[in-house]
């Protein structure tokens, strides 16, 4: 199945893209998606476990993902 990984700010710069289409197994979790992202050039500049949101809700590494999900890697936030 395919999930869309969204990248922002410093993470988008590190990977040179604002989104990636990532193929994972049917029972994949957030951690599996992150492992896949790590294969991309520039991903060595990401922290070991970035903050993640699945479909716009914060999620932990064990959270399951489904086909078509939007998985966002959230750099340290700096609003205000």
């Amino acid at each position: 199945m395919t999930v869309t990984v969204l990248l922002f700010a410093s993470y988008a710069e590190a990977l040179g893209a604002s989104s990636l289409a990532v193929e994972v197994a049917g029972d994949a979790t957030v951690a599996d998606v992150i492992s896949n992202v790590r294969a991309h050039p520039g991903a060595d500049r990401l922290p070991p476990m970035p903050l993640v949101a699945v479909n716009q809700q914060y999620a932990d590494a064990h959270a399951p993902v489904r086909d078509g999900d939007e998985v966002a890697l959230i750099p340290p936030v700096a609003g205000g």
Partner: protein
């Protein structure tokens, strides 16, 4: 007024926020404005661009004002965050809170800005006088992907 969160690209109008938070029952209306500071961590800043994961940022902001309204017992919690390119002294965020009593009005205002800084997916890239730009990482780690 019901609790309201918005993301805007045009300049924030503080008076409009105050009006939105005012009501006959509110003995106190607090306005907080965040502005672009000229010096950050010892470096001279010429401007900031704000970026967001807009759908989620709006959801989180709305969740914060809704939760603040419930916790502190007032519907009059208004927050507006600006995105895009801002210059020094421009207002980046405005929070207006109306409450029957001042103690609670101050408390809601403070609570909203701290929650916003903790969980709303908004990022800022500072522009420096030497021409470089860098994403700000409030967690104190060296930011990734930024030219030094």
């Amino acid at each position: 007024m019901t609790p309201l969160a918005t993301l805007v690209r045009a300049p924030i109008d503080p008076i409009a926020l105050v009006r939105a938070a005012s009501s006959p029952g509110n003995g106190a209306v607090i306005l907080f404005l965040g502005a672009v500071r000229q010096v950050n961590d010892g470096r001279d800043v010429t401007g900031i661009d704000y970026a967001a994961y807009e759908g989620m940022a709006l959801r989180e902001l709305q969740a914060i004002v809704d939760e603040g309204a419930t916790r502190f017992g007032t519907p009059d919690v208004i927050v507006e965050h600006r995105l895009g390119e801002l210059a020094v002294e421009d207002i980046s965020v405005g929070i207006a809170v109306g409450h029957p009593h001042r103690d609670m009005a101050y408390a809601v205002s403070r609570w909203v800005i701290e929650e916003l800084k903790r969980r709303v997916p908004i990022w800022k890239r500072e522009h420096y006088t030497d021409g470089t730009r860098e994403w700000v990482d409030p967690s104190g780690h060296v930011s990734v992907g930024s030219p030094r």
